[in-house]
């Protein structure tokens, strides 16, 4: 036995890019985040070879979870071929040897910016959401120390008040994406800037979700079978985007979240935001063998 055969061969970086100390810290924080659903855990958030705000938080979680048997799907705005999604997916597979996939059903880890896929995630899948601003109270309290205290006190009055004021002024809650939601009846979190359409997918879901903000150095989690309830008043039901009746002009699917494409001369057409769902629908229409999994929405209605 010699020192040489006790050590690993030299490599420029560790497996999965992050070194062991960074991963160890992340794993501890991820476990803490699971233990206290929706509560933001500060972490060191090392620099990665990607600009802050471009998915570095999600990337660090993915790099900590990944192994050689992983199958990685990365989407941006629902699309696998978005330039940044492609860049992240290529980086993860290059430093980990994990397989790349576009198919939600095939993925073991789904890293996403701004969307949750339409096909229902299973209990053997992990969703990693990229988070620009982890603090749902930022709009009412920009100071982190004070906001932290408010979370500790479950003091969400100011947040409720802004929602109420919107109803008074505009007749409805005007919050677009990133709808503040109560997790496990205790911590209000931002579900990241996913549309309101996607928030119900987190409630009592079978899969584990990590939400990670690299720039802001905070991560939080929604464990499987955990309540995620959008903040709403009892007489004002939660409203998702009115996309139920829209039809994708490319794939013909309907009842899913759509991208709106302005058309010359006025008006709009639509295409399905979950791009791989659209691709699979087209493949099926062309008679190719394609498996489309069960979806959270059926006929435009949430029905999980």
């Amino acid at each position: 036995m010699s020192l040489a055969n006790l050590t690993k061969p030299w490599a420029a970086t560790s497996y999965g890019f992050l070194d062991a100390s960074a991963k160890r810290e992340l794993r501890r924080k991820m476990l803490k985040a699971i233990a206290v659903p929706g509560c933001q855990m500060p972490y060191a958030s090392r620099e990665v070879p990607m600009a802050r705000g471009w998915g570095t938080g999600g990337l660090q979680v993915t790099l900590t979870l990944v192994n050689r048997n992983s199958r990685i799907k990365v989407i941006d705005q629902g699309a696998d071929d978005g330039v940044n999604a492609a860049s992240i997916r290529r980086f993860v597979s290059r430093v980990s040897g994990a397989a790349e996939t576009w198919d939600t059903l095939d993925a073991s880890i789904v890293q996403s910016r701004h969307r949750i896929p339409e096909e229902t995630l299973r209990d053997d899948q992990v969703l990693v959401l990229q988070v620009p601003n982890p603090e749902p109270l930022r709009g009412v309290e920009p100071n982190i120390s004070i906001a932290r205290q408010m979370h500790a006190d479950a003091d969400y009055g100011k947040l409720w008040l802004t929602l109420y004021e919107q109803i008074v002024r505009k007749g409805r809650i005007m919050q677009g994406a990133g709808y503040p939601s109560m997790v496990n009846g205790r911590h209000v979190m931002t579900p990241s800037p996913i549309p309101r359409w996607d928030v119900p997918k987190l409630n009592m879901a079978r899969h584990l979700t990590f939400l990670s903000a690299g720039r802001e150095k905070r991560l939080f989690a929604v464990p499987p079978f955990t309540r995620v309830e959008p903040l709403v008043f009892s007489d004002r039901p939660y409203q998702v985007e009115e996309h139920a009746d829209l039809v994708c002009q490319r794939s013909g699917v309907s009842g899913y979240f759509m991208n709106e494409l302005p058309v010359d001369g006025g008006g709009s057409t639509f295409e399905v935001s979950d791009s791989n769902l659209g691709i699979k629908a087209i493949q099926r229409a062309q008679g190719e063998p394609t498996v489309i999994g069960p979806t959270w929405y059926r006929n435009g209605e949430f029905s999980a």
Partner: protein, 364 residues
Amino acid sequence: MAYVATRGGEKAIEQAERLFRQDLGTIDAERVETIRRTMPYLIDRVMGEASLYSEELAALALAQTGGELYEAVLVLRAWRTTQPRIAVARPVRQSELLTQRRISAAFKDIPGGQILGPTLDYSHRVLATDVLEGKPFAPPEVDRADRAAPQHQPSLADWQREQGLVAPVAEPQVAPEDIPDLTREPLLFPASRAHRLQSLARAETGGVLALGYAAMRGYGNAHPTVNELRLAEAEVVVSHPRGTQFAAGRVRVSQAEVTAKEKDGYLGLGFAATFGWNEVKAIAAATLDLNSDDAPVGSAMHEEFYLYHTESVEASGFCIHFKLPHYVTFQSALDAMRDAKARAAKANAPHDEPAATRQEEPAL
């Protein structure tokens, strides 16, 4: 299946990067060395913001990013964070610094003397256009002083402490490995003094200047007097596993100590230090430190505000991320807006609905 122009996947991003790199041409050791040799203050600034002291790597980062400073700092930080932390150097003491420039605006003369050192402070800022006309500028030689300035200088604050002008300090006894390390831990508030000074040391020069300047102009309470400003070289003293201490090399450092007025019977002091020679950053950062403790929470002079917003990699990254597609969030906001407008139109339509169905605020 490319949907819209902003997507194009792997090929597009590869070609876009090639275009950027093609414009910069071949990067070789000579180019890196030229940058290192001719741009020492730029190198210093980049090393400070990257919190990585290596002139060679800083020059390489500048070469491969074409001088895009935020990108240069990011590649250095991303490289730095993969490196193991093999030793913690002995704390640097002012009296041990090889001091090349040291000035105080608080006193006409100070123990150890004022040493101007290399500076453009009193130069006339005239662009040397002759160089472009084919007349190279060869700087005149420096006349040697009759008596060499002492290499080491005492700390002015120590003298002030002896005079009872500055509050005495009890030096904290912390094991080297227990010193908080901002590069391995998140910044939390209230920040430890170590974290605050580390964060300022790696802060973006322009950002520190903007907020420090705001403090100087009057958004802070304290108008700084430069108690002591130093440009120096510090020995990096580390312990050998056998226990002997040795200098592993020297790093250029700047440090500034600023003071204002009496606080609790003593002069308040603000301090900052950074890798490299960067006087503007050191003075501005020390001013922020000076103003920090009395600053109202939420103000630009409060540590949470200025430490967060002068973080080069975070601030620049977030700024450029707005180039990424945001059409899901936009669509979501649009949906709410259209619905609200439709409701308003319906509500305002004359006699469209019976008044009884409209909700009224109950009278108090």
